[in-house]
């Protein structure tokens, strides 16, 4: 089987700055693989270990994203591709999903696509369901357990973690699965594999390589403004001689403020 995993590199902390032209400046913050994508990589590796085949990891972004791909290779992915084209910057989640769909089409023989349920920076949760739609594949989002993934029978059965329920859903393959935290235990790469991944050849693909007309990728959403959140009003401390006194004072304050 061939599993494709889309990953994204994000700032470890979200204490980002906003530039005057409304771009996000994450300089000085350590870059990491977006948390939920790590579970996507691990699940692809587990399924390929079971069924045989290969794992391809893909990132859409600039050269700085190469570290995320090397880490995925060190975890055990067989090949990595960086889609790097200045024409593909700032195209939004839907634009990125169109590019992702073109990548899967070019790869051709894909049985399953994994990605995190959302990135931890933009947090739109759009990429997975949208890439499935562009590929005309079923999507199983918020997967926290894979019961069965059988490329021969072209069948996948998963549990989806919803707010108050667990849904068991089956679908045909090929399909797109988006992963939540704790679906599995992402592995630590060995030193040997890290060294090997550093030397791996990672092809760069452009919009032209994918046969994409960049005019069709123009985002339908624009940022009119981007600001830090308004500061919270200054709070006050509740003092008292005993725990009981503090507790009573707090309850009185909450009642007076009509919070309870």
């Amino acid at each position: 089987m061939h599993a494709v995993v889309f990953i994204k590199q994000v700032p470890q902390q979200n204490s980002v700055k906003i530039t005057p032209d409304k771009q996000i400046d994450a300089s000085g913050i350590e870059p990491i693989i977006s948390l939920f994508d790590e579970y996507a990589i691990e699940e692809a590796l587990l399924q390929v270990e079971k069924n045989g085949g290969k794992v391809t990891v893909v990132t859409i972004g600039g050269e700085e994203q190469i570290d995320a791909l090397r880490k995925a290779l060190a975890m055990g992915a067989d090949q990595a591709i960086l889609v790097n084209d200045p024409a593909l910057r700032n195209i939004g989640s839907l634009g990125a999903a169109k590019v992702g769909a073109a990548v899967v089409r070019k790869l051709g023989d894909v049985d399953v696509v994994f990605c995190g349920k959302q990135s931890t920076d933009d947090e739109t949760a759009v990429f997975g369901p949208a890439v499935a739609r562009y590929l005309d594949m079923p999507v199983l989002s918020y997967v926290y357990k894979v019961h069965e993934l059988d490329p021969g029978a072209k069948r996948v059965v998963v549990d989806r973690a919803m707010e108050t329920t667990t849904e068991t859903v089956e679908a045909t393959l090929p399909a797109v699965l988006t992963t939540v935290k704790d679906l599995n235990q992402p592995r630590y790469p060995s030193l040997l594999k890290i060294k090997k991944a550093q030397k791996a050849d990672i092809p760069r693909w452009t919009a032209a390589d994918l046969g994409l007309n960049t005019a069709e990728l123009a985002p339908k959403v624009t940022y009119l403004d981007r600001v830090p959140p308004p500061p919270r009003p200054k709070g006050s401390m509740i003092d008292g001689g005993s725990a009981q006194e503090k507790a009573r004072k707090l309850v009185d304050v909450l009642v007076n403020a009509q919070v309870i």
């Binding site: 562009y134 108050t164 667990t166």
Partner: protein, 325 residues
């Protein structure tokens, strides 16, 4: 293009959800500002009944598709049905809730009908005749104002964006759509309620615990009890979820749930940036921590310095006394 502002209505056991009632108010407000009309969209295995309920809220139009395939949400069935109606009637706005199903639905639908999408927004308004939407990103460290240049704008909206609409009587019409011939490649095998499950996003009061509680036993003894006294729900910080004290579905924070209740009580939580991302939009924040320099106090409306293992039982008692009196 019709100047219609649609909302996707959801019902449980025939009752409209609170989120849907908010969306009705919001759709009415936006339609008035755009010089258009609000309308509801209902996709369900018992759509006829829900459509009648929606008309009683004074909506002039309800678009309805009824089919057994719509009993449980699947992306294929819901997006297929909605896309067909959208292509036929061409609304300019579609509002939905921001539940996980709706996040899945709006993403696939926007791709299908080539719409502009604002995902998980905290507000939507009309400015100079155009729709703008507000959405936080980067763990609530960035507030984005989105503009759109598409014929259709789809917005998934969090709770508390508008007052819940009240039934107003009405004589609107129901427009029945056909369930289209779509590939149905997925099937819901079963749906199980999680044990002790609660939708934190719907809770008005949340009590959360962190490492300062010292042990899983202390958390279990103190936090749910205080939450119960408040008639609220209970959550946890990432640190104690990772430590295995509490299951992941209770985690509040950037990699867990994002909540904005009326009252959030943080007990023994230091206030890591990842936790603040999930709760800083709460109405009133109470922080209880033994370290007076803990970052949680920077966002707290009221702070109590002290040992959570003494303060929580005292607070539970004080709340119970107050609610009894």
């Amino acid at each position: 293009m019709a100047n219609e502002v649609w909302l996707l209505a959801e019902a449980h056991s025939g009752e409209l959800t609170a989120a849907t009632k908010e969306l009705i108010s919001k759709a009415q407000e936006l339609a008035a500002a755009l010089g258009g009309q609000p309308a509801a969209l209902v996709l369900s295995s018992n759509a006829a009944q829900v459509a009648e309920t929606l008309l009683s809220y004074g909506l002039p139009k309800v678009y309805s598709v009824e089919n057994p395939a719509l009993e449980h949400y699947t992306t294929d069935a819901f997006v297929g049905a909605a896309a067909a109606l959208i292509r036929q009637h061409q609304p300019c706005v579609l509002l939905t809730g921001a539940s996980l199903q709706m996040r899945d639905f709006t993403a696939a639908l926007a791709a299908d009908v080539d719409a502009g999408l604002g995902s998980d927004c905290t507000g939507v308004a009309v400015r100079d005749g155009h729709i703008v939407a507000m959405r936080p990103s980067h763990g609530a460290n960035v507030i984005n104002t989105l503009g759109f240049n598409s014929d259709l704008v789809i917005i998934s909206l969090r709770r508390q964006v508008a007052p819940e609409a009240q039934p107003a009587g009405g004589s609107g019409e129901v427009i029945r759509g056909q369930f289209p011939q779509v590939a149905q490649r997925m099937r819901v095998v079963k749906v199980e309620d999680k044990s002790n499950a609660v939708n934190l996003a719907d809770s008005q009061i949340i009590v959360s615990g962190g490492r300062g509680l010292g042990s899983a036993e202390n958390y279990e003894k103190l936090v749910p009890t205080l939450a119960q006294a408040f008639n609220g729900a209970y959550g946890a910080s990432r640190a104690i979820v990772d430590a295995g004290w509490v299951p992941y579905e209770r985690q509040v924070g950037q990699t867990g749930k994002t909540v904005s209740p009326k009252l959030y009580v943080a007990c023994g939580i230091s206030g890591a940036i990842q936790h603040l991302a999930g709760m800083r939009n709460s109405g009133t924040i109470v922080a209880i921590n033994k370290d007076p320099d803990a970052p949680i106090f920077k966002v707290a409306t009221y702070g109590l310095v002290g040992d959570v293992n003494e303060l929580l039982p005292a607070l539970t008692e004080a709340v119970e006394q107050k609610t009894r009196s």
